[in-house]
Amino acid sequence: MVSPILELTNINKSFGHVQANKNINLKINKGTIHGIIGENGAGKSTLMSIVFGLYQANSGSIKINGKEINLRSPRDSIINGIGMVHQHFMLVENFTVLENIILGFEGETVFGEKLQKAKEDLEKLCQTYNFNIDLDATISDLSVGFRQRVEILKSLYRGAEILILDEPTGVLTPQEVDELFKILRSLKEEGKTIVLITHKLIEIMDLTSEVSVMRQGEMVGHTKTEDTSKEQLAEMMVGRSVLLRVDKKEIKKGESIFKVNNLSVKDDLDVTRVKDVNLEICSGEILGIAGVTGNGQTELLEALSGIRKVESGNIELFGEKISDQNNFLNPRMLKEKGLAHVPEDRQRMGLISDFKAHENLIFGYHDQEPYSKSAILNNKEITEYSNKVMQEYDVRPNSPNLITSNFSGGNQQKIILSRELNENPKVLLVGQPTRGVDIGAIEFIHQRLIDMRDKGAAILLASVELDEILSLSDRIIVMFDGKIVGEKENKNVTDRELGLLMAGVA
């Protein structure tokens, strides 16, 4: 029998008190696309970082082609034919493609012949895989999709036989995902082995032939992809059965309550990021904003929630002008008028991570009764309220005195959601509600948003997850380069159609 190209036995790894990997066993066969699926924090990336030599396991062994190897640094892994494309690209932005690829493998002290040779070799590789990359382009000028290709090219140039990709599709449009999958399939044809780390079930079903599931640092199952289903994998990931579809009632659309007229907004560097945007949301409706990260969604949400100045145009709430270029209501005044905001960047804007959970739960209401009286906090009331609301929102662990940063992403998001939904807002602005949130919590958060809609709130949902936009929204607008480039009722819209709009080509 042929030994697997990569075999891990009893891998253990802890960071301080947290055991990220517990007794992991894994076999990966040559020439396959092997998926590793699990929720955020399940230990997938840690495990692959160990294989790549970036982290050192506390115990366990790694074999390549049946031979035990000791990986002390990424250099050892690279020499043994392992390449990794990280979730956050490991590229120097102001270097050229060529410089990034040869970094560490220059082969000569002073640039000269070898540099020319490297260039020729790379051009050949580009042709073989149809990469279409300009080697002299600066990374910062390249789109995310191209940067990812540079990463793949880098690994191939360094002689990778096993290519590990960590959440490769998170930042791509559906078309770019198609391109990537095409590349991965052709690499497989060439006999390369691919390890795909993801939390997206659809990718596993689409691309892999074998799949391993991780949960809370442990490997909970291996199976052939054809023998399993999305539902089964989701259950293995979460440890209980999960509803993958959102149940949504027919829309009961009310009158228009939130209106944006010809809005333009600049960012901190004085670049116009929102360009002449018009939109309208009715009560009982969820309006989804689709778009690739960085196309103005962030600045739009910030302007609407009163934390960024409006350059031109105006915003109306219940027919009353709340913001234009001369004056705007601050978030507190907006809150009093019934507008709530769940910010995109949970850690930076949604919470004070070093505060205890109960402090974050009442933040913004802390000076109101019953939480305080005559400027003195009423800890008894606060604790009582916190206990109640944490139970209601299923925040785990249910301990109001725990520092907020110790909660998982999903539970932090529930803390914010409970605070923002507390006063039954009429308008709810939500940015990336499930970024870095586990499936179980996603289900809960989605259900809450639908409940708010059914109660008659007008909801604006910005998300880079197309699935989320498609499953929650009643109406979808697409942002590209600060402008709204398309608007669709969410009936029979496909992610392909939206993808074209998101890429700015339709």
Binding site: G53, M90, V92, F95, L103, F105, F111
Partner: protein, 323 residues
């Protein structure tokens, strides 16, 4: 002819005054391109001046004094690295600590060894560097323009002046034309990219700091064993900070940093020249104002230009590999 010789002497002193700034700026480029802030150029320059002066006094040879200064400065750079690279301490705090330590240490050691607080004995001609007169400089002096250029501007400098200006193309070559330079720049921009390329981030930063130590030693030795013949208290007089400003103004690039150093050197040379001179229409400018010129210029330049200067992306951040 009076006017021409004025200009020549102004350029001559600009070159001399800029010398320690150039060494320090090049030293700064190595540290900061690798992602390590170096405020301690000032302290290291002062220490180098002290060690070079004491070394050549006891050993009787200024080159040995320089060698000692290099060793001590490299050690100080390693100390900075130990605190801020290995132990991930705050880089600015580590630099400030070094600067304060050295102001006190040099004064105290001078008092203990020579009985005078912050002063070392005057070096004789064998113990210090002397001006180098280039061949034929006397013979060629009378040829118009070329003679002035060669004999009055290029000739008659200390060895450090020549070394400083030779170091600039060398630094440029190392930083932009060698694989070491590529790694150096990468480690200051995105250390994770360097780590995943199989290069040790810490080793790279230590190497950069070692070169930094060597270069800054030249600046100090120039002060105490060339232009002066002894060490005196706080003789670096803010040149380390000025060089840092020049490096930032020069966008961490050897060529533009050199221009900034020359500009600072020129205003300093000009202020010396302008003291007590009656200017037409304006009259005599107060000495205090003239002396403040280089510093005013620093503030103006930094306020006006630093906004556009983009620092290495990872500067000031200790590299933390595991979460």
């Amino acid at each position: 002819m009076e006017f021409l010789s004025d200009i020549a002497s102004l350029i001559n002193s600009t070159l001399r005054i800029s010398t320690p700034l150039v060494f320090a700026a090049m030293a700064g480029i190595f540290a900061e391109r690798s992602g390590v802030i170096d405020f301690s150029l000032e302290g290291k320059m002062l220490m180098a001046a002290f060690v070079a002066a004491v070394g050549s006094y006891y050993l009787g040879n200024p080159w040995l004094g320089l060698l000692l200064a290099i060793i001590v400065c490299v050690c100080l750079s390693m100390l900075h690295g130990f605190a801020s690279v290995t132990h991930k301490g705050d880089q600015v705090v580590s630099c400030v600590a070094i600067n304060i330590l050295i102001i006190g240490l040099t004064t105290a050691l001078a008092a203990a060894w020579f009985g005078q607080a912050g002063l070392t004995p005057t070096l004789n001609e064998d113990q210090r560097f002397l001006e180098i007169h280039l061949p034929f400089s006397d013979a060629l002096r009378d040829i118009p323009v070329i003679g002035t250029l060669y004999s009055d501007i290029l000739s008659g400098h200390y060895v450090f002046v020549y070394l400083a200006y030779l170091s600039v193309p060398l630094v440029f070559w190392i930083v932009f034309k060698t694989s070491f330079g590529l790694r150096l720049r990468a480690v200051g921009e995105n250390p994770s990219a360097v780590d995943t390329a199989g290069i040790n981030v810490f080793t790279m930063r230590y190497k950069a700091l070692a070169i930094n130590g060597v270069l800054i030693a030249f600046a100090g030795a120039h002060l105490s064993t060339a232009v002066n013949a002894n060490f005196f208290r706080e003789m670096s007089a803010g040149r380390g900070y000025l060089a840092l400003a020049a490096m930032i103004f020069g966008k961490w690039h050897p060529k533009t940093a050199l221009i900034a150093c020359l500009l600072f050197g020129f205003t300093d040379a000009l202020q010396i020249r302008l003291q007590g001179v009656e200017l037409p229409a304006i009259g005599e400018i107060p000495v205090q104002l003239i002396q403040a010129l280089p510093y005013i210029l620093t503030v103006v330049l930094l306020a006006g230009f630093v906004g556009k200067a983009i620092a290495p992306n990872a500067i000031g951040q200790p590299y933390i590999k595991e979460r």
